[in-house]
Structure formats: structure tokens, C-alpha cells
């Protein structure tokens, strides 16, 4: 057996766990998760600048899940299968880490990988330029920001995106993304 979801959680909880959620990513779940973050990390205990950045990353990550997850495989050992996604926020040393995980169909690997690798290959100035270009020129889908999400995260954090694809079965992979904020 290859991929173990529980091991993934365990690894992502390293450091001080602030919040975690796994299940159906609904609009209400997104609201609740954001409210939980705001109640747990008050302005007094963290710099407002950092707190805002973490909040922004949480919004983009949660809404990315909301708009883009695939149905999980039928035999996955999880309770809620509709719009299943997982998110873990911990503070590890001087970094906040937002980790997301979701099941995607195998054929999507290359498009996800290409998009992230492209964003990661850019300098800060190039990220800013591309963000403006996409904002100004691209048609947006009903769903979201037409690819601005990843760019926005990299721009605001100044850090590269880390990701992994874990093989689940012949048709599915588990896509895991880590964003670091400091």
C-alpha cells in the first residue's frame, strides 16, 4: 500500500498545530475556518502584517480547494466525499505552514505541475509583472481568479510553493501543497 492519509496529517501537524480540517469544503466551512484562525491568532500575539498574510493564504488555499477538487476514489477511507479537501495550519519554528491536500484524477498531474513549476521559476519582479498581466488580460472563469491564486500566494509570501503527488490507485493521486509564511 502506497499512500497513507494519516501519515500525511501527522507530518503536517509538526510544530504547533493551529487548526486543521478535513472533509467537505463548503462555503460555510471556509467561513468557519477563517473565523477560527482569527480567534486563535489574535492581533496581540502576532504581527498584523504576518497575520494578514496567513489569512490571505488561507483564503486562497481554501477557495482553491472549493473550486478545484475532484471526487475522491470510491474506496478512500474518508467520511465526507463531496468536495473533499484537507487543510492544516501549523507554526513550525519561525514559519507558518499552510498545507492542503486533495484527491485529483491522474491526468491532471501535468497541468498542476506545470503551473506550479512555472510560478516557482519566476523572480519576485516577474511574479508581480505576470500577476498584473493576468489581472489585466485574462478572461476569468465563473469559478475563480483565472490562475491568479498561486501567483498571489507566491507574491505575498515571497516563498516557493512546495508540492507532492502521492499515488493512491491507478486513477487517483493525492495532491499535497505546502505554503510557508514568515
Amino acid at each position: 500500500m502506497g499512500f497513507d492519509l494519516n501519515n500525511w496529517y501527522k507530518e503536517k501537524r509538526q510544530g504547533d498545530l493551529i487548526l486543521e480540517y478535513a472533509g467537505s469544503i463548503s462555503s460555510d466551512v471556509i467561513s468557519d475556518t477563517l473565523a477560527e484562525f482569527e480567534s486563535k491568532i489574535s492581533e496581540s500575539e502576532e504581527l498584523r502584517r504576518v497575520r494578514k498574510k496567513v489569512y490571505n493564504v488561507l483564503v486562497e488555499c481554501l477557495q482553491n480547494l472549493y473550486h478545484h477538487v475532484d471526487e475522491p476514489p470510491k474506496d478512500a477511507e474518508i467520511d465526507e466525499k463531496d468536495r473533499y479537501g484537507a487543510i492544516v495550519l501549523s507554526k513550525d519554528g519561525t514559519f507558518y505552514r499552510v498545507s492542503t491536500g486533495n484527491f485529483v484524477k491522474k491526468e491532471k498531474i501535468s497541468s498542476i505541475k506545470d503551473r506550479i513549476d512555472q510560478v516557482n521559476s519566476l523572480t519576485d519582479a516577474e511574479v508581480k509583472m505576470l500577476y498584473r498581466e493576468v489581472l489585466n488580460n485574462s478572461e476569468f472563469s465563473e469559478k475563480g481568479g483565472g490562475g491568479l491564486g498561486m501567483l498571489d500566494i507566491v507574491r505575498k509570501t515571497g516563498n516557493k510553493l512546495e508540492y507532492n503527488f502521492f499515488q493512491v490507485d491507478d486513477d487517483y493521486i493525492f495532491f499535497a501543497l505546502d505554503v510557508y509564511i514568515s
Binding site: R48, R49, K53, R132, N136
Partner: protein
């Protein structure tokens, strides 16, 4: 006479006031809805109508605490409508507010300013 739009702030959508009488366009708070088009379409439609008979001066106050990338294009669409009004020779003043240590919100204002041909007034808010 056009109807004034007032929307109270919700968890994910900002306070909005579009008042044709006074020539005031205000958006304040958080704009992080999952479906931003649904929220902004009526506002953009309103500006379309307002453009036919705008007030001599339109004051635009954008005071956002957070906005998601899904809202960013809708906000640009609002600025584009205002740009048309400005192009027709009407005065349009855009005030972009940001909290003093919020470099991201300042840069977001710069992003729009780089695309839209209306001078922005960048206003830093102190605590």
C-alpha cells in the same frame, strides 16, 4: 433618479454604497466571496447606467481589509467603468486606503493604478 445601492458588510462581502446623487462610490471591508461575479455584477451594471448621467464629480473610496483573487478582476471591472466616465470628461477621484503596515494592500492599489488611467490617491491609515 437612480437608486442608491447600500449593502451591509457580511463575513465575506464588503460594505457597499453607490450613491448617484452625491456621486459617491464606496467599498469597505472584506471581499472574499467564493462567487465574486454574483456579488459584483449588479454593482457593475449600476455603474453602466450611472455612466450615462454621472455626477459632475465622482468620489471613489476603496478601503479594503482583504480581498481574494476572485474579487480582484471584479474590482478591476469597476475601475474600468469609472475610467470610461473619466474619459468622457467627468471628474473622478479614486482614494485607495491601506493600513500603515499593509504593503500588500498598497501594492494592490499600485496594480490597479498601472492598468487604469485615473490618478489614484494612496491614503495610509494609521492605527
Amino acid at each position: 433618479m437612480m437608486e442608491t445601492i447600500i449593502r451591509e458588510e457580511t463575513l465575506k462581502t464588503p460594505f457597499v454604497k453607490f450613491d448617484s446623487d452625491k456621486g459617491v462610490v464606496e467599498i469597505k471591508g472584506r471581499s472574499i466571496p467564493e462567487n465574486s461575479i454574483e456579488f459584483y455584477k449588479p454593482l457593475i451594471d449600476w455603474l453602466d447606467k450611472y455612466a450615462d448621467q454621472p455626477s459632475g464629480k465622482t468620489s471613489v473610496n476603496i478601503k479594503l481589509e482583504y480581498f481574494n483573487t476572485s474579487s480582484s478582476k471584479c474590482i478591476l471591472d469597476i475601475f474600468r467603468k469609472l475610467e470610461l466616465i473619466h474619459k468622457k470628461g467627468n471628474e473622478v477621484e479614486i482614494n485607495w486606503y491601506y493600513e500603515e503596515d499593509d504593503e500588500d494592500m498598497f501594492e494592490a492599489g499600485e496594480d490597479y493604478q498601472s492598468i487604469i488611467n485615473i490618478p489614484f490617491k494612496m491614503i495610509e491609515m494609521e492605527d
